[in-house]
Amino acid sequence: MKVLLVDDEKELVATLAERLNLRGIEAQWATSAEAALSRLQTESFDMAVLDVKMPKMDGLLLKKQMQDRCPTMKFIFVTGHGSNQDFMAGASEVGSDYYLVKPLKIDDLIAKIREALQR
């Protein structure tokens, strides 16, 4: 299981990746949509965990572009929104059933990753 974490908060994704790695999930990270797309040129991932709000290209648009390159890839969105209404509207547009709200609980994230990959 190989996961790419994408969030413009470098310390957040780097630490989260380390914690997933400690739990046996191979996780790598990128801090921008451009960097994430660039990684897909040389590596393949089973799943991406995307922050919704990122500079230049948001997580929803990034998902579309990643999916064009890797149609089998699964996605989980992470949002800092206090209310999820706007996010849910956007997420349903791009067809994602999986989302989590910051701050994350690692057990919840792992459960979502497993659930999404088993579907």
Partner: protein, 220 residues
Amino acid sequence: MAHLDLIGLSGIQFFGKMSASISHDLKNVLAVINENAGLLEDLCLMAEKGKSLDPARMKRLAGDVKNQIRRGDRIISSMNMFAHSADRESVAIDLRELLGLLVDLSLRHASMRGVSLEFDRLSDSIMVTTSPFILLNLLWVCLDFAMTAAGSSKTVALAAEKTAGGARLHFRNLAGMGTAAASFPAEPENALMRVLNAHIQLDPDSQEIAVSLPGGAQEA
């Protein structure tokens, strides 16, 4: 009629927009602290099972948490200043401090649009007597426009100067002003200008917006 009644819904929307941005920033601070604390917990659990703890690693993680606490404190200080800007309709304020606050409040919006904000926080103080909240609102809509009008450099420079009739605030480097200038300022901006007795001037040649404020300005 009270100033805030005059600007009505647009003032509430401005307050909401800034509050949402601040809450998003704070969520990120908490999320980073949460992961650092989680990693510390993971490492401690591993130590209980016999893996040695690296003191340097522990120190770095503690330092990371402290950095986030400092970041959160700065955000909350800005939020507090912003909240109190609506306390009084007319008060003597330092334009340099107000522009600094505007920049702090707008950093996330700017980052999302790939725009950098330049402002000299050590510039001279310029005191004016005005409504801080409504002036912040007016300056935000100008900055919002300026970020849209920023050219390929994607940098907006902010500055304030004392003038004979009051003070002037500048938003510079707007190489992309072009056709967007035709629709700015619109009625919401005009309402703010009327309350403040301010004036917005767009200058495509020098690629800047200038906001003139009436008398009462003095260098501190």
